[in-house]
Subunit: 385 residues, 2 copies
């Protein structure tokens, strides 16, 4: 398996002008069960280099946002079990740059805590939340979108990023864009008419045909007080709990208060707690993201991010010399055990080879890998999860 | 990988009356490249338990023939690199029961040497040659066929065993049976009209429709002097060389003579050297073998020998608890590394998992596994072969 310790710290992007009073939050949670056995509870997706770039997903995310927010302006919110691996992978992350959760309470608690801590530390700054396990290509497009989003956020909007949909994906939620907001220096920002859940294929095709729907990249940009005010209105108990914790943060009361309050916090996604109800009230905006984006949800989408290893569209994540294919087109091979992986006469097969567990499936079944994880759990094979 | 040391010595068959002055020869050569990566040059097919019986193929062969020839009446002919593994697996094999070849010279040299050594040691006895890596079910049928064959051999025939063909296999050679020989106490023995190479599918179907063709199980039963006389007539130089070696065998000249003469011996199969030309002269007979037989040539034929692991026709050679399948019918899984092997949504797949190499293919491609071995050789990956 890829060792996170083996991934060098190599910020690979040219410097850009940072955005004043802008902070980046990276929620790092979720095991990524559709990427089992590469991704495990103890070694989740964001700690892996899934693109062959030499950087793990969280390192690439950090590199991307630290250019805009500065190294000292990045906060990672994660579980206690991943904190040290993250600090190892991100040596330039500031002290105090990791907020550890004693248990997962979903994204609203994680992002709300970060917003509240930023408010206590820095006042009414703008922050953006960026998942630790997404892949973005075209940084120029990313930078431009975030700059527009920050401009709109300063005006009081909760801003999302809508990726131009290149296919009728059923794996993503969609943002239905409404009227232009005519914001100065943020000309492409529009109101959000509504968010949608992952659609079926026919619905997804309809969305694409209208040109009004974009993929929801799960990014949120807002002033911390704007987000917290919405949270107070929508989920007052969760807001109060987070305020109690934030008041104690960076004090000698922190551990005691977290231990007491955190376990009682409501477990809810930011989408349901704030984004959807506030969109219905007219408070959410969307900036178009015209850059390559993927949440690397499964081995098929992972394949799309890798260069072809041969003229038959085969992909390898790992050491190419560990793989021998005869009569096998379109395969996705993840050799992570040091063993020789050979495939004969099977097209579009997925082979994920780790030191203690092997998965053989097809690209068409990639979304169903979570069913295998469920089966392992049912059989009590927790040591492989 | 299955360790040959882990296979217990457990002769599992009830005793039968042994055949007087009958000796069994087991040529143990051939890596079995269609069973890669389970079968390797250093750990060939015959050292593995391929049926889940708890006995390796050579152990099962020994058990089968030692009942008829006695433990002291069995000779194994093999390469120097396999001699110690064979002795480990066959602790009841007599001293002097292993004839080691310094290099492979094909089956005529191996069987001819055994016949000549038997002649020196025991006189004009009858011997039978039985491949180390075949699987036989129904020992009663086997015993009956060999007893008839020995009776015919005493009369001067070179006797082969023709297995009743249950399908138009293109993986086996066929024996075309001729007239009945009307031998007393060997009523079903017939002359061999001819041997055929492996046929194409249409020819194989024609063979089956006539009822005159049987699978050539590669067994030969003859008086040692009968075989050696045929060899002298057909291949005088090879005969002379083998006589020189046999004269020195069991003496202090053995190693020196073997080193000098063996490398010059003609490399030829007993089929081409003796069986085919002598059949044309009317000297070869066939006894019908009405028992289950397979040469376990590939993973698909291996599958046919294993009990089903589930209601979907899936087969496992190894520890069943190392395998988890979801939506996978007819798969053949060989878990030999101790790792968890999981298959999702792929039917009829073959997964062979060994500590240093993995093969993923399909049952339909089982015969082409040798192409993978060729590819590995072409790439210089000899450490996996």
């Amino acid at each position: 398996m890829t060792s996170h310790a083996a991934i060098p710290d190599r910020p690979s992007h040219p410097p850009v002008t940072r955005i004043d009073d802008f902070y980046a939050v990276i929620p790092a949670g979720g095991a990524g069960t559709r990427l089992w056995p590469l991704s495990r509870a103890g070694q989740p997706k964001f700690l892996h280099d899934l693109t062959g770039s030499g950087r793990s997903l969280i390192q690439a995310t950090f590199d991307r946002v630290a250019r805009l927010a500065d190294h000292d302006g990045v906060l990672v919110v994660t579980g206690e079990s991943h904190a040290s691996a993250i600090v190892d992978q991100l040596p330039t992350l500031s002290r105090g740059g990791v907020l550890t959760e004693p248990s997962p309470r979903d994204s609203m608690a994680a992002i709300g805590l970060a917003a509240a801590v930023l408010h206590r530390r820095h006042g009414d700054v703008v922050f953006g939340s960026f998942a630790a396990d997404h892949v973005i290509t075209d940084l120029t497009g990313f930078d431009a979108a975030i700059r527009e989003a920050v401009t709109a956020a300063r005006e009081g909007w909760v801003v999302t990023v809508g990726i131009s949909a290149t296919r009728p994906s059923t794996a993503f939620g969609y943002i239905h864009a409404g009227e232009s907001l005519n914001i100065e220096r943020a000309p492409s920002v529009r109101a959000v008419a509504s968010f949608t859940e992952k659609p079926d294929a026919a619905t997804a095709r309809t969305y694409l045909s209208t040109g009004e729907y974009r993929w929801n990249a799960g990014m949120f940009i807002a002033r911390v007080t704007v987000l917290l005010d919405h949270l107070r209105n929508q989920r007052p108990a969760l807001y109060q709990g987070l305020m109690e914790i934030a008041d104690a943060w960076d004090t000698d009361q922190q551990d005691a208060v977290v231990a007491q309050v955190w376990p009682k916090l409501e477990k809810i996604a930011i989408d349901h707690a704030v984004a959807e109800p506030v969109a219905a009230l007219g408070g959410v905006a969307v900036v178009p993201g015209n850059f390559g984006w993927d949440d690397v949800g499964d081995f098929n989408s992972l394949a799309a991010l890798l260069p072809s290893d041969d003229s038959h569209g085969s992909k390898v994540l790992g050491d190419h010399t560990d793989v021998v294919r005869v009569g096998s087109a379109g395969s996705v091979i993840v050799p992570q055990s040091g063993r020789l992986v050979t495939v004969l006469g099977l097209d579009d097969v997925v082979v994920v080879d780790t030191p203690d567990a092997l998965l053989v499936t097809t690209r068409a079944r990639a979304q169903q890998v979570k069913d295998m994880v469920t089966e392992l759990r049912d059989r009590g094979l927790d040591e492989y999860m």
